[in-house]
Amino acid sequence: MLLNIKNLHVSINNKEIIKGLNLGINYGEVHAIMGPNGTGKSTLAAAISGKPGYEVTKGEIVYKGINILGMSPEEISWEGIFLGFQYPVEIPGVSITNFLRAALNEHREHQGLKPLTGSEFLSKLNEKKKLVEIQSKLTNRSVNEGFSGGEKKKNEIFQMAMLDPTLSILDETDSGLDIDALRIVANGVNTLRSEVNAFLLITHYQRLLDYIIPDFVHVLYDGKIVKSGGKELALFLEKKGYNWIKEELID
């Protein structure tokens, strides 16, 4: 198993958000986590990525057989976990090119590889740009600065493609996307999807799952996975709404 989350409890400022979550992901699988707002979807993504301030009070996150709890965000990234942000951060003054080259070379250093030469880096950059139909000019601009919502999300997928992770967690990548951008983002994910990696899609709406077909759908409610199923669960949720879950839980 690539990722095995066991009885995970996560608190922020002493308030428990994730309350005993179990989730297993194998190589080659695409999982979708759905659920109403405020049930802990983004908290789960942040906790896996090692974001400071997210305190794991119980349980473990085992990735490739190692418990990654307590590892720094950079170490988790080097191990091959990528987080696509719901709200990508603007970083004025740091160009995408410089930023990605620094990131990529730290990954390579961790793997005991030599840094990429300028031309190796550029050819990789150009190859991956095509994947998400990113304009050439964009990579010379500061990271996300003044980008439209669609450009920011495309940039996330572009970075994912450059870093070639084993496990990609995409947090509400579909929010704020028009239908064309959504298609491009989905196409990027579908192209990268393979037997040696896995995806965890966090989404509020079923829409994204029309383009990226998941193997499993989980419903997160009040910090726990309350229901799991195949892709048809997403359609069911779309039709019935999340209130259905609440009612079922009360019963």
Binding site: P92, A102, A103
Partner: protein, 485 residues
Amino acid sequence: MLNYYIVDMEKKFLKLNDKFNKQTSLFNDLINLFEENKNQIFKNDTKKISEVRKQALEKFSKSELPTLKHEKWRDTDLSKTLSKNYKYYFDAEENNSEIGKTFKCVVPQLDSLSFTFVNGWNTFESELITLEDGIIIGSFSDAMKKFPEIVEQHFAKTFQPEKDFFSLLNTSYAQDGFFIYVPDNVNSQKSIQIVNIINNDENIFLQPRNLVIIGKNSKLSLIHCHDSVNQKNSFTNSVTEIFLNENSNIDYYKLQNLNNQSTLLNHTNFYQNTNSNISSNSISLNGGLIRNETCVEIEGEGCAANVYGLFLMDDKQHIDNHIFIDHKKSNCVSNELFKGILDDNASAVFNGHVLVRQDSQKTEAFQSNKNILLTDTAKINTKPFLEIYADDVKCSHGATVGQLDNEALFYLRSRGISENNARMLLMYAFAAEVINKISIEPLKNRIDDMVKKRLRGELSVCDQCVLHCGTPEKEIDFEIDLSKI
């Protein structure tokens, strides 16, 4: 604690002593000192210059020593600087000219001419040099002898020396410094670099006095450096007056890299005639206490004054940037951008005062000061200030104080950039806005490099340089070399 000076005539030096704490003692003693060394100070003076000095001393004796009670000094405390003893030389020390003669500051690919001063005294072989394009460069003392009319016409003629305590003191005592005269219609491609080195075995007090005159339709790029060789105490009270005639331009860079025991009061006074342009950029990398006091008098229409600054301070360092821009004529633009990063217990002051007088219509004036505080104990007092009496103007001001953005830091780290490198990347990106204002490419590259070294906690000196400027307090583990990106 106030102090006073005593003089040892034989050795010709001055001591600051803390036995007496009445201001009158200080003034009486300074005035006595002036009287006793009059002959030496006046040695190269014309009658008129001597007269100006006497008047300055007269005003000085009626002015007040700045303390925290004075509005302009309320956040910059000089008491520590003034509680030490310093030597004051009325003559160049012989042994010190060696370092000046052998020292070379080589900035790769920079087409420049370098002049070195050690402890405030020039170390040139010849007196005044006339370059191919007619620019005259040399020491201020030689200029008084050779070009008395030019010096008389400009010496202490800018606004500040008339009012400011330390400027008056400088006007009274100053004996050496640099003199640059650019004739009309000279567009110099070469940069002139003035390096002030402090190399002292004992604490010293020095007062350089610099004069720059740029003729009509001419351009000058000037790099003005303050460096220290060792870790001794020093107190520099420097005054620079820069006159810009019609359609003239100056690119002025101040690079400050002094030890933590040094105090630098650096007064720069610009006087602008019609259609002249200033671009001034002060890069303060190290120093115990630095105060850059910049005054711009805009006396003609169509002028632009761009005043930029970057300061990176740590330990207990203190930096104070005081800017005063006086828009006396209409259709002019001024633009201030100061950015700072403060670590440990460092403190900073920004005070930008723009005065737009009643008749100065169509003025555009912008002020911006942005700061990053890396610790809870670092401190900035910022005061952008517009004083506007005209009604048809476009002005704005703003200041921000913040920390490194934690969201941005996590974003970079989640991509595999380690924490130190991510912090460094964010700090460098913040500083780059000021560095990018440097229009001389080789200089920009060098300063870029020095800023990176400074942010990494390395000594911000160049390879093979004899200067040993600030001492970094802590090691920062930094593995990727951003310059290779």
